[in-house]
Symmetry: C2
Subunit: 416 residues, 2 copies
């Protein structure tokens, strides 16, 4: 495939490619949004063979450079590809046989068995808490935030997200919650502190669990929140509520049955639950580069695929909310903070790592902005349970506590 | 099968069966919620052969009578059956082969081809507007209402439902809407009057369309709302919005592909839409009696089945709301009004008709109360469309107009 036929195949994105010898190729007649500079023939050749992986690898290694707005460039690629594959989204960029083969091979290498999951999760989440502290919010919430208005700060929006989740679950003091995949523990601690529930929170990332335990001790919440370093498949006991925020995308399609059985076992006859996850509008694997270099074993499911978890188990979907644009906004905050700490990240890791993570964050902003990725929150309960919210109006009434939290966050920010 | 083994198979519902000779059989050791009186041996024999259809037919003909609360009785049947089939809901009441065979035969007889749909819809919706005026609200809205609080009147709740739909769709003055399956036209007229949009509304029920046209003329809305007596599959043109309230359950699974193509064709690149329908938590045909005697061709889908309409078509689900308990409440109002007019209905039709419709309405209350039936509202837009609501808070802010409409409804009610 030549570069111009690749660009045609990709739906003629409005960009300029500059080769090592100064040759310029334009994707379309429109003025280019940004330029891609390819430094040598070998890089071009690899890009033509496997654009999805090699663009990322070439960019990370500095053999491909982008002049102009990286997010806008990737957005234009997604948009052009989306239009050219409008009626056949699976055909994007790569031939089907290649897609199937690489999915199969990656799937084998990255399988989410109990041992495989530990390896996959360690790869991403155990990069060191100090790294994540550089660009996440102060509570290290590494999932989509909820911005009551787009102007809210990231700190406010992560607190608002945790309240949004707790309200959707209608948590009552004294209830028991099990959380599958708890990150650095912010949600579990928030639930216990402000909603008076007891939480058992599971995670297989060692670094995250030890951080969460320390926070619980420091905040005198160890009696209410137990952080357990174990796989969600090993959780046992009965709970009023099952909650999982940002884990489903790491579970893998072939394990939904197991996850459903775990939920079923935990919930008894009147339980309720909540799943928050990155999803898709149609079935498509995660970008191959991201799966290879950033999130091994990850797969964003469609709602249809997720319904298979609920349908055989007397579980009733009460509410689905798509927060796609909130994730684009969250990622804009992360990317901005990341760029401010880029020198420090380079010192902690290396230049290629900075470039890879820049590409991952920018690509994710673009993915959510263009609708290539979705963020679904699903609230559910046992089919026969009538102790469910009459309307959703209660989600939109701000309490005194939230107002004071917000004003203290703003106060804290204006001081710092 | 004997009567007591039938009761065991049904999960031991707490009821008493009294036979023609005075013999009494108890479903369980608990005090019975109600009594079922079976008047003759032939009726019992039929009931044992095919309980799902023959209970309804026997009740309609007065050969089976219920002493006590009919809704509570059916609820107890659903609950007991639900528990006995907890891990195998398809096995409820009838053997699988019987279920498959009768589904196949009914499916053939009631197929939702363009001609078949006309027959199926005519059967239920063309019983005469005078009949429906006896027990629906004043605007003849024959779908689930939305009660901001459970104490709201049916009139208020149907208006609130129409506003809830219009807000979910974020209708803007001057936009164009196509409505598939418009009933007596209340929603189309509401959209045009209060949200300033132009509506093309399709329906194959002759009686409903002629009523809707007359209302449009009387209310000087004929220039804004066009009522078209035709099948949704024949609609053409481009619209900003596709809306359908209470039609999907009559479309039939085998026609979702066609419906999806119609939506795709109508919406262009930036359209949005709304589906409101009776659904299920797991795949199961509608009760065989209801399908045979009340709603030929009807099938309430699961969310997973409905997702197949969206997934291949670049359509993004933004919001799903389950209003199951609101439909139970709506049906309680309908049943109460129906009972108040039972004599008049018997005069218009006959005693068997009154009994059949009483059973259908009571059974539906029980179905929604026990979670055998669900009511889903799904809001969607093209995957790439970013002109979507930032949050759902706007759905829960009551406008001045709604407040005044509500107070005038209350005023009207207190006068009448």
């Amino acid at each position: 495939m030549s570069l111009s036929s690749l660009l045609r195949h990709m739906g003629r994105p409005p960009l300029r490619i500059v080769l090592w010898d100064g040759e310029e190729i334009y994707g379309s007649d429109d003025p280019p949004i940004a330029s891609i500079r390819i430094h040598d023939r070998r890089t071009l050749w690899k890009l033509l063979c496997n654009p999805e992986v090699q663009f990322g690898d070439g960019y990370s290694a500095g053999r491909i450079e982008v002049e102009g707005d990286l997010v806008a460039l990737i957005e234009s690629l997604f948009k052009a590809t989306g239009q050219s594959t409008r009626h056949n989204p699976r055909a994007a960029l790569l031939p089907d046989w290649y897609r199937s083969l690489s999915s199969f091979v990656l799937g084998k290498l990255q399988r989410n068995s109990i041992r495989g999951s530990r390896k996959n999760i360690h790869y991403h989440y155990d990069l060191g808490n100090d790294f994540y502290k550089l660009w996440l919010d102060s509570q290290l919430v590494y999932t989509c935030a909820y911005f009551p208005t787009p102007a809210d700060s990231l700190e406010q929006a992560q607190i608002a997200k945790m309240d949004h989740v707790c309200r959707k679950l209608q948590l009552q003091p004294g209830e028991t919650v099990v959380e599958a995949g708890c990150g650095w523990g912010a949600l579990a601690l928030h639930m216990a502190r402000y909603y008076g529930v007891s939480v058992k929170a599971f995670n297989i990332s060692r670094e995250q669990i030890s951080y969460a335990r320390q926070r619980a001790r420091e905040e005198n919440l160890s009696g209410k929140v137990e952080f357990i370093e174990d796989d969600y498949r090993n959780l046992s006991g009965r709970f009023d509520v099952f909650a999982s925020v940002g884990m489903l995308e790491h579970v893998g399609r072939e394990h939904y049955e197991e996850l459903g059985n775990v939920m079923d076992r935990c919930l008894g006859d009147s339980g309720r639950g909540f799943l928050h996850f990155i999803g898709r509008d149609s079935e498509l694997p995660l970008n191959a580069w991201a799966r290879k270099r950033i999130f091994p074993g990850a797969y964003p499911p469609t709602l249809g695929q997720v319904m298979k978890i609920f349908e055989p188990r007397n579980l009733s979907v009460l509410d689905v909310e798509n927060l796609r644009l909130h994730y684009a906004k969250t990622l804009e905050h992360w990317l901005e903070r990341f760029e401010r700490s880029a020198d420090l990240v380079e010192y902690m890791f290396d230049r290629d790592f900075v470039r890879a993570w820049r590409l991952y964050l920018a690509g994710s902003v673009a993915g959510f902005r263009t609708g290539w990725l979705q963020l679904f929150q699903v609230t559910f309960a046992r089919s026969a349970c009538n102790e469910i919210a009459w309307t959703r109006a209660h989600l939109y009434q701000t309490t005194e506590r939230e107002l004071s939290v917000n004003s203290s966050v703003m106060h804290h920010q204006s001081r710092s």
